[in-house]
């Protein structure tokens, strides 16, 4: 089988893409987790003295 050897520049691009996927993927994970947690807060029945749940994401600044 003939394999095409990637060029030096392609290795650089691969390195940056992999790092980008990991960092942006983690940011996305944190955002999703935070939104899921906010939804759990909003689902709590209101009680006197309890801190208010945050507004839904589309209302939030």
């Amino acid at each position: 089988m003939n394999f095409v050897t990637p060029s030096n520049g392609q290795f650089m691009v691969a390195g940056y893409i992999v790092a980008g996927i990991v960092y942006l993927g983690y940011v996305l994970l944190l955002v999703r987790r935070q939104r899921a947690l906010d939804a759990r807060w909003r689902a709590l029945p209101p009680r006197p003295g309890r801190p208010a749940a945050p507004p839904p994401p589309d209302v939030a600044a």
């Binding site: 030096n8 520049g9 290795f11 650089m12 691969a14 390195g15 940056y16 992999v18 790092a19 990991v22 960092y23 983690y26 940011v27 944190l30 955002v31 987790r33 935070q34 939104r35 947690l37 906010d38 759990r40 807060w41 709590l44 309890r50 801190p51 208010a52 749940a53 945050p54 507004p55 994401p57 209302v59 939030a60 600044a61």
Partner: protein, 234 residues
């Protein structure tokens, strides 16, 4: 009674401002590294992986895992749940940075060493540390009782951080393919000025990104614990 940002009238933000600044700073550092920094004569373009690999390693080893050790040690002394949350957050964000190190290193290594991986002291110890921190986070998932979970993970966090000096010194103590530090060493950095400036900008950008990620992760952990306390009280 829980106390948090939820008591304030300030609306909740999904993305932290510091995190956004960190992402923009990293994008700027990457732009400078790729387009405005000279190409290394012998290694070619692949050497530019250096500008993400080295700052990520620096943040993971000397900031995230140092913070993990400090928070873990202080937790064992003071038993403050905020320290446990800080240790948990530093471990997770540090693991992300360490993952980037372990993924970009082989890509760079393939071009300069001719191999993706070698079981030398630096690489093996780094991989071992990655598994230890992953184990710490998995351990936390498996223990429901809060104080026991915090105590066990604090001990494991301290043990994991003990590896950091060995990883730093491994290139001096053993024969390894991995090069010795060119910046974090007693003598002057062995790097041309323009490359050093790019590296320092990258350091700053990745530190800022770390602070943003850590803030967001810590806030999530705080609100999660408060919610659990409220749910358990009902």
């Amino acid at each position: 009674m829980p106390t948090s940002s939820r008591h304030s009238a300030r609306p909740a933000r999904t993305i932290d401002g510091v995190l956004l600044a960190g992402l923009i700073a990293v994008a700027g550092a990457v732009t400078r590294a790729i387009w405005f920094t000279p190409v290394e004569a012998r290694q070619g373009l692949a050497q530019k992986i250096f500008y993400i690999h080295v700052p990520s390693a620096f943040v993971a080893l000397y900031i995230a895992f140092a913070l993990l050790a400090l928070s873990s040690g202080l937790y064992l002394w003071l038993r403050d749940p905020r320290l446990d949350r800080m240790a948990e957050s530093a471990a997770e964000v540090g693991l992300v940075y360490m993952s980037v190190v372990l993924l970009t290193g082989p890509i760079w290594g393939k071009t300069v060493w001719g191999t993706w991986w070698t079981w030398d002291a630096r690489l093996t110890l780094t991989l071992f540390l990655w598994f230890l921190v992953l184990g710490l986070l998995l351990l936390r998932q498996s223990i429901d009782e809060r104080t026991m979970r915090a105590r066990y993970s604090a001990v494991l966090g301290l043990l994991a951080a003990i590896l950091v000096p060995f990883i730093h010194l491994s290139v001096y103590l053993f024969r390894t393919l991995h090069p010795r530090p060119i910046v974090l060493k007693p003598s002057a950095p062995s790097l041309p000025g323009s490359m050093l400036v790019t590296l320092l900008i990258s350091f700053g950008a990745f530190v800022l990104l770390f602070i943003g990620l850590l803030r967001m992760r810590y806030r999530w952990a705080t609100e999660r614990d408060e919610l659990l306390a409220l749910e358990n009280a009902e």
